[in-house]
Amino acid sequence: MEQSLKLKNTIEVALLTSGRPLNIDELQKLFEERIERSTIRMLLDEIKSEWSEKTMELVLVANGYRFEAKPIFSNSLMRLSPERVIKYSRAVMEVLAIIAYRQPVTRGDIEKIRGVSLNPNALRQLVEREWVEIIGQKDVPGRPSLYATTKYFLDDFGLKALGDLPDIKTSEEDIANDIVASNLPEDAND
């Protein structure tokens, strides 16, 4: 009985921490000794019923078993969810701006303009978001990738073309005025 509780707890903790569904073959790997598939199935049933009155539920999906938050919590959890809460960092926005205004650029170009070496995460976030893509390699030693903005970038920012990007003025005064007025798209269709 003691032994069976230990097995059950190990399965539960594996499912709570794995971040992906686990199938029976995988759950067997948790143990040094060989545990029958039927035993694991039985323990999964026990876990499922023990959790039935709690906050999560054990669900069987295509790739195996996983713990899911019960649907009644979805609204609350969405309030926390990164997709909505997380804004891109200043660094990421600067990298995007450099790519948009100066494309095609290499990582080295971006670093030169910003004066700091680039956190690879920044580019990865932009590529994952499909706002930025690699369009080739520059023919210099190391053949660095050339980055440019995508169609999705234009779509998501409501631009028809890069020419619709805000115009940057030469004089600092204009910049200052611009920041106050920030009159953006109206005059951009010539």
Binding site: A69, G136, A148, G163, I179
Partner: protein, 266 residues
Amino acid sequence: MTDSTNVVDDNKAKVYGESLKALPLDLYIPPDALEVYLDSFQGPLDLLLYLIRKNNIDILDIPMALLTIQYMEYVEKMKQIKLELAGDYLLMSAMLIEIKSRMLLPPIISEDDDDLDPRAELVAKLIEYELMKKAAHDLDDIPQIGRDRLVAQGYFKKIVEPQSLPDASIEDLFNAWKNVVKRAGQFESHKIDRSELSVREHMSLILKKLASNELILFDTFFDEEKDPIPKLVVCFLAILELTKECLIKINQQEPCSPIYIQRSGD
């Protein structure tokens, strides 16, 4: 460690006043194991610390002759097995020899007492590195997330929004650009106007087009019938700019023959 020794001829080296009559036996390692063994040193300081430990040397009173001899032995072995020998090792050899020879000179009277011992800098380095080695070891002993510990990460169904809005606005983007330019302090050179942006956009488009084909006929970038004149101009400027930045090459076999464009380097 002093028991595992064998006799060497050169007995000039002294350890705490006693002649060094032997080299440590553990210098002689089966050849196949040697490489792995010598390769496991993180650098010259690591090797020196090892030698200091092995010989029970007082780090505050290092016998430079002994240490230098042994250090050179190891470096020689590393060279022999053609280990990728970092220049740092050779640099350290030079430093050790320099310290050793400075110690042979009569002490110079100096107002600054700290500068008297030529070994001081080396000792400080060894101690700092030893500290950091320890720190690395202690750090590695702490249970790490992902290696020793796991965090709960159950699943929850995301409610799909009918229309997902961008997480950044064009104002954000513009302000980011202004920050970059401001910080760079190079307003003049970063002045961008709309026509230049169109050129930049066409540069990207042309490069994308060139990605799949090796050579593209120059004319195919221009549709004189459909494209308005400004667009033709912008496209032409983009090609010129790409050439200037060495991103593409323009080829023509002989005067008046077709002009081809290709990525440079392909």
